[in-house]
């Protein structure tokens, strides 16, 4: 296991170069690689020495890059009046978690780390603009939902949807980029 992990680490620089060619946003490239390495770690059995490690990893990375491109192109034109369907994939048809969200180890310690807040900011920057604005008005500046609605001329239902979306996205982002990295 330890050995496999270090072999993966050796491929990181290569994968990053690869991802950067496809994704102009450096963070998007980093994420794609990070997700790839996590997926590889989780699926070590699937590798089983079948092929060259780099080839196998690159195959996974390609999927992650396509996901990233799809995500960003979907985000841009989103009128954001609708629900939060992008998170439906987390649940099965009866609305149960496909996979329980894993518990985060020692989140309080994260609050004392500068790097954690840098990550958090990155995650916030990745939210669609309006979602981020509403969320920060609520959680950072501490406005009541009613005030935000009035300010931005949106319905409270819409406001709750945007806040829900922001929380879902941030939860996922922090999980992948901070809590899942160990």
């Amino acid at each position: 296991m330890e050995d496999f992990r270090s072999r993966l680490e050796e491929e990181r620089a290569y994968l990053l170069r690869y991802a950067r060619l496809q994704l102009r946003e450096p963070q998007a490239a980093e994420d794609a690689v990070q997700e790839t390495l996590l997926a590889a770690l989780a699926g070590e059995a699937g590798f089983g020495g079948r092929s060259n490690l780099r080839t196998w990893l690159t195959g996974i990375l390609k999927h992650k890059i396509v996901d990233a491109i799809r995500r960003s192109s979907r985000e841009a034109p989103l009128p954001s009046e609708d629900g939060a369907e992008e998170f439906d994939a987390l649940f099965d048809e009866r609305g149960h978690w496909r996979e329980f969200p894993p518990a985060w180890s020692d989140p309080d310690a994260a609050l004392t780390e500068k790097q954690f807040f840098a990550k958090l900011e990155e995650c916030l920057r990745r939210l669609p603009e309006k979602t981020a604005r509403v969320f920060l008005m609520r959680e950072h500046m501490g406005f009541e939902t009613g005030e935000i609605c009035k300010e931005l001329a949106i319905t409270s239902t819409h406001c709750w949807v945007l806040l829900y979306r922001a929380r879902m996205a941030l939860r996922e982002c922090l999980e992948v980029n901070w809590f899942g990295r160990k």
Partner: protein, 60 residues
């Protein structure tokens, strides 16, 4: 009717933004009592709130 996990995540989020009705609170509590996934989710959304409030005032 039992709430689904998906509905619970929405309600947990809204619970941070408005006062939930009595029936909503009861159904939410019943679900959370038996569902580890949603309990974890609720804890994490509260953590995110705390982290974002702290943002800029402490470490960064």
């Amino acid at each position: 009717m039992m709430l689904s996990c998906k509905e619970v995540t929405r309600l947990v989020s809204q619970g941070l933004d408005r006062r939930l009705g009595f029936a909503e609170r009861v159904r939410l509590r019943v679900h959370l009592a038996i569902c580890d996934g949603c309990t974890t989710f609720a804890r994490q959304t509260r953590f995110i709130r705390e982290a974002v409030r702290t943002l800029g005032s402490r470490a960064s």
